[in-house]
């Protein structure tokens, strides 16, 4: 059944108790939390995801977000992420409980799932081909990815590009899209109907909110995609949407440096990375207006399929 089919009181009860079993892309989770904002966040953003009863006995990641057991909870309430008893981060203010869950899940995948080459990049798909959008924070990669998936592209991931080491195909992990600072309003204006949850302020990444992933992307979360492009977006005030081809070799070096686990895979990382580059067109992309950017991407997709 889908998470939204669980009555809210029942969801709250289960989350506070043993937790709920949930599937996101190739991973199964058991999530446990007593914090109301985490329950709300899951309800609003993960409604389309498959949940099962806790009798489901195997989960890849057993995670929880709860107030830490220390005296500070009486002064300044906090939340802490735990991966099966291990706390990889320091507790943060309670207001950030839902982003902590999202960051924690990203941490689990990027530190454990070495069956993939994991690149720090957003990735979207159209007509079976994936566009990988790696870029440093602040370059507008999440904004562009959000704009694209609200315009007919499929969300594979806004943060973690999972490349199957055996097949070279990209596995979707279409969780909520993290939006930061100004891009929250940009996306609200671009698509007034889209659901974005209440923002958490003063996080290490500034103001953070999450956008609900499109229903179709979640429904197709087991459908892999072939790498088509590697495109480095850069938002620049007033710039017309411009694609400039870039060197494959340089692109490879950038991907290797920005992969979470390239060095862990040894020679196989090189093999998977070069095979990826061999089948993709690589571009730098400057843009200012989101609709213009989407039109440019649509033309790219048509050109490759026609």
């Amino acid at each position: 059944m889908k998470l939204l089919q669980l009555p809210p009181a029942e969801l709250r009860r289960q989350l506070a108790g043993a937790g709920i079993w949930m599937r996101t892309g190739p991973f199964s989770l058991k999530v446990q939390s007593r914090i109301p904002s985490v329950v709300t966040g899951l309800t609003e953003l993960y409604g389309q995801f498959e949940v099962r009863s806790m009798k489901e006995s195997f989960a890849d990641f057993h995670v929880s977000v709860n107030p830490p057991a220390n005296l500070r909870r009486w002064l300044r309430p906090q939340a802490t992420f735990s991966f099966d008893g291990l706390q990889p981060f320091k507790p943060l203010p309670l207001d950030q409980a839902f982003p902590i869950l999202e960051w924690g899940l990203n941490w689990c995948v990027s530190t454990q799932a070495h069956q993939y080459l994991i690149i720090h990049a957003a990735v979207v798909e159209k007509n079976g081909l994936a566009a990988i959008l790696p870029a440093p924070p602040g370059s507008g990669k999440s904004t562009l990815a959000a704009g694209l998936v609200l315009s007919g592209w499929r969300l594979l991931s806004d943060e973690l590009t999972l490349i199957d080491r055996k097949t070279g195909l990209i596995h979707p992990l279409p969780r909520p899209v993290s939006l930061k600072n100004r891009s929250i309003d940009v996306i609200r204006q671009f698509a007034p109907d889209v659901y974005i949850n209440p923002a958490s302020h003063d996080t290490i990444k500034g103001t953070v909110a999450h956008m609900r992933p499109p229903r179709d992307s979640v429904r197709r979360q087991h459908e892999t995609a072939r790498p088509g492009w590697v495109i480095f977006p850069k938002w620049e005030a007033g710039a017309p949407a411009t694609l400039t081809p870039r060197s494959q070799a340089q692109t490879f070096m950038f991907l290797a440096q920005n992969a979470f686990n390239y060095s862990h895979l040894g020679a196989d990382g090189f093999r998977v990375g070069t095979a990826l580059i061999d089948q993709t067109d690589c571009y730098d992309f400057r843009y200012s207006a989101l609709d213009e950017a989407v039109a440019t991407f649509d033309r790219l997709a048509e050109r490759r399929t026609s």
């Binding site: 199964s28 195997f58 890849d60 799932a113 070495h114 069956q115």
Partner: protein
């Protein structure tokens, strides 16, 4: 002391075949215990040795594959680092002796299989430390991430200099001049250890301790270290080292004699006792008999059993009972007690409890 040896991970390590009868919920627990204990990759290797890889259910398989990927990469990296270390310390008028995990890899021992690493430990004569430290700094390693208190503590009291991290590769080297701190209750003679070191065949210039000494060092480390997040992993190291070395007919008498010579009989006694308990390691009764004189009195032993059957189990909620936290604290205090006399220990623990938490100290001593 029977309940705690019953956790799934020890049972699986003792007799891997039982996994063919595991329900999926047991695989869930096994993966979690093995991850907490740092033993996923070793378990993957054990399954493959016993032809049990196909018994791993599809949903659980990637956990073992991913851990195995990481372990293989680390083995390659350790070999590479050893070559770098050998080059960096080439001018040192003393053999480069590698300890623990890196030694198992260097010597291609069964204990290398599925082993994960945090750092590389090397042993040098005390009078060579200064020179070695400068050479390592020239090659890119530097002391990092410690508070001034911790640095002073290392230099003044410890058997090693502060850990050095490589500026580019981020690998960490621990340079030791002994296997226990100067302040410790027992003083195994480092010169005796070094004198029997053996050169590694395919890494000329790199040495490892003799078989008995490797085992004694591993045992000593296990029973003198305050925090034991990977106690069971270290026990499996010992299990593999012992099974490998015991092929020699005179091995056991040699081991117990050497333990006496190095003042490490008590540590060996405990190690063998808990190896039998957790892993069914084939330790002959004659070895236990000859170590009986090193055993503590019955009351102490009963207490130690309560402590070590808990702290050597995987650090996972499914292996804990209501005494586990107390047992971990007791092991911590005991280890410090053995490592330092009271007039040093009390101020040190005071600093650790009330001053260090409020300073920026990425890696405490």
């Amino acid at each position: 002391m029977n309940v705690l040896s019953g956790h799934l991970l020890s049972r699986t390590l003792r007799s891997p075949d039982i996994v063919t009868r595991f329900a999926i919920s047991e695989w869930d627990i096994l993966v979690r215990q093995a991850r907490a204990a740092g033993l996923l990759a070793r378990l993957a290797h054990r399954f493959s040795q016993h032809g049990l890889t196909a018994a791993i259910p599809a949903v659980a398989r990637w956990h073992f594959d991913a851990a195995d990927t990481l372990a293989s990469k680390q083995q390659t990296a350790v070999r590479w680092e050893l070559q770098q270390l050998r080059a960096a310390l080439a001018n040192l008028d003393s053999p480069l002796i590698v300890l623990k995990g890196a030694a198992y890899v260097a010597a291609s021992l069964p204990a290398a299989a599925g082993r994960l690493f945090n750092d590389i430990d090397i042993l040098l004569p005390r009078e060579r430390l200064k020179q070695a430290e400068s050479s390592l700094m020239l090659a890119g390693w530097h002391a990092s991430g410690l508070s001034e208190y911790d640095k002073r503590y290392y230099r003044r009291w410890m058997h090693e200099i502060p850990p050095m991290q490589h500026a580019q590769r981020a690998t960490v080297i621990d340079v030791h001049h002994a296997i226990l701190p100067d302040t410790a209750r027992y003083h195994p003679d480092s010169a005796k250890l070094r004198s029997r070191a053996v050169e590694v065949a395919d890494l000329p210039g790199v040495y490892v301790l003799a078989a008995e000494d490797r085992i004694l060092h591993s045992a000593t480390h296990l029973f003198h270290d305050g925090e034991l997040p990977h106690g069971l992993r270290d026990l499996t190291d010992l299990d593999l080292l012992l099974r490998d070395a015991a092929v020699d007919r005179d091995f056991w008498p040699r081991l117990t004699a050497r333990a006496d010579e190095l003042q490490l009989g008590r540590s060996l006694f405990y190690a063998l006792r808990y190896l039998r308990f957790f892993l069914d390691t084939p330790v002959p009764d004659s070895a236990m008999t000859s170590l009986a004189k090193r055993a503590p009195n019955r009351a102490t032993l009963a207490l130690m059993d309560r402590i070590f059957t808990r702290v050597l189990a995987p650090d996972h909620a499914s292996c804990a009972d209501s005494f586990t936290a107390a047992a971990r604290l007791a092991a911590f205090v005991r280890a410090h007690w053995l490592r330092m006399p009271a007039h040093l220990l009390i101020p040190h623990l005071f600093h650790k409890a009330f001053i260090s938490p409020y300073q920026r100290t990425p890696k405490p001593a």
